[in-house]
Point group: C2
């Protein structure tokens, strides 16, 4: 752990109201920064920039500190914390947003603490691309920048999004977002198109089917691990991104090999997230847990004693 460089994560911290096939859960602490931070903290020290309202429990910030997450960059603003409500279908894939209340997030204007500006690994969670760019401007020569985005910004802010894409190393999106961004249905062609827009790499998340990495070395597929208990997929994508950066930081090098290993560790990390409501599971996993699941995932492709 001590050899890993810190990771800077910018994103949301939120209360979620979740209607899950297994029941409803209210006031669940969530948000992209929260999930990503817990996931990354398995591998490396984490610094979070986010905003919460008066109503956000100090106890959760304490839990995060206990996991090696520096929350000095979490601004406590007057008002209510960002709130999202959603209903998941039985398939736990499709979901309907029932309510979104930006609250203190509406006027979020992130200011990086001086210490944070030199963080080598940066995760720009899904946000207005202007805000993502603004945060990048406040950093000094980061080694590796990963960004997430969503349909809302792809359709609403195409030009600022295009500027953001030219400034990052890796874009992490799901298959629908990749299609929307490129205007191309075929995933492989869509990925190739996105690579012409700036990022050196694009990772396409496919939920239970894992994720694909497209880079100059080709295509790498991290399989989804068939889980027996899928409870709440909220935050799985954010946990994936956090796990990815956490692992890379821990390896202290960006190469075709370390990225491919990171894809498996990110998938493994995210797989824990869905096993419980909210951050319950992702906030408690250990490196040993992740290593074990990476072994399980790798066993999905093993032929046994011999090779082909």
């Amino acid at each position: 752990m001590t050899s890993a460089s810190p990771i800077l994560i910018i994103g949301s911290m939120a209360f979620d109201d979740l209607e899950l096939p297994t029941g409803s859960a209210h006031n669940v602490v969530g948000g992209s920064a929260t999930y990503s931070a817990f996931a990354a903290s398995v591998f490396a020290p984490v610094r979070v920039v986010a905003v919460v309202g008066d109503d956000f429990p100090e106890e959760m910030l304490g839990t995060m500190r206990g996991r090696g997450i520096d929350v000095d960059g979490v601004e406590r603003a007057s008002g209510k914390t960002f709130r999202w409500a959603g209903r998941y279908d039985t398939d736990l894939i499709h979901r309907t947003t029932l309510d979104t209340q930006l609250n203190v997030f509406a006027s979020f204007n992130p200011k990086l603490p001086e210490l944070y500006r030199d963080t080598p690994f940066v995760l720009l969670g899904n946000n207005h691309p202007a805000l993502q760019l603004d945060v990048l401007e406040q950093t000094r020569a980061p080694l590796f920048v990963v960004a997430d985005t969503m349909n809302f910004w792809i359709s609403g802010e195409p030009q600022i999004l295009a500027s953001m894409l030219r400034r990052i190393d890796t874009l992490v999106v799901n298959d629908e977002e990749a299609r929307q961004l490129s205007g191309i249905y075929n995933i492989r062609r869509a990925a190739r198109d996105i690579l012409t827009r700036g990022p050196r790499r694009v990772i396409i998340k496919r939920g239970e089917h894992g994720a694909l990495l497209f880079d100059e070395d080709g295509i790498f597929a991290a399989p989804g691990f068939p889980l027996e208990d899928v409870i709440d997929p909220t935050g799985a994508g954010d946990s994936f991104a956090g796990g990815l950066l956490g692992y890379l930081s821990n390896q202290q090098q960006i190469s075709a090999l370390s990225l491919r290993r990171a894809m498996l560790h990110a998938t493994a990390t995210a797989s824990f997230c869905v096993e419980a409501v909210g951050t319950q599971r992702i906030a408690t996993i250990t490196r040993e847990d992740v290593a074990q699941r990476v072994d399980q995932i790798r066993s999905l492709y093993e032929f046994g004693a011999s090779t082909m």
Copy 2:
């Protein structure tokens, strides 16, 4: 090729009318037996039991013979060939059946030629489970029996289907069929349930996401290869089953290892099927084509020079 044991395939031969995102195609020769036979013929000699009408082109039977497919078991009945019409969504996954005309298939009462009864590898294509059982009764101690089925039989003929399941080695179904058959949404739990119903192995096809094998040795995942040209998914599942049996027959042994290798070869074989309308591509591929694609698929999981 000469060392491979023959494969017996029972299924449909048909005319398909396809509405594809790239255009419409009429009177396309299709059917589960046709696709499976072309796929299996890449690896092994094939024997087909099916029925066609007066209108089925003799030329296609000649093409099949040219690929080492014995069509002596294809009965030519008076009347029209089975016909299916369907429309695919843009995603090329969801499809709507527009028309089904059983025609000569309605009174199909397969009689195995004497020579066929001792075929060691048997593929029972999707059919009424009573017909699948009837064919099995006509075989003598086959080494390996694979069956396919569909929602229509799962809901309509549960008891006969249950008898069929007790007589086969491997069931090949898609994820929706596995869920329907087991009554369990979670794929891993669904697979375990199916394994209590008779088959020693169940393979769950997941379209572009590949396929999962569940057996006593665990779970094996064959990834879908991200194709740049996906034209017509009709017959991909049948090509998968044909490729699976073809490869196993060629290996002449059923083991955890040969099954895992067969999963990759089946996925590779099926991936060609979707690259053109109907059987155009699957009817012309070589073992070298498949071997090359298996290498491409395996490269999806390779880390480069070093290992983890």
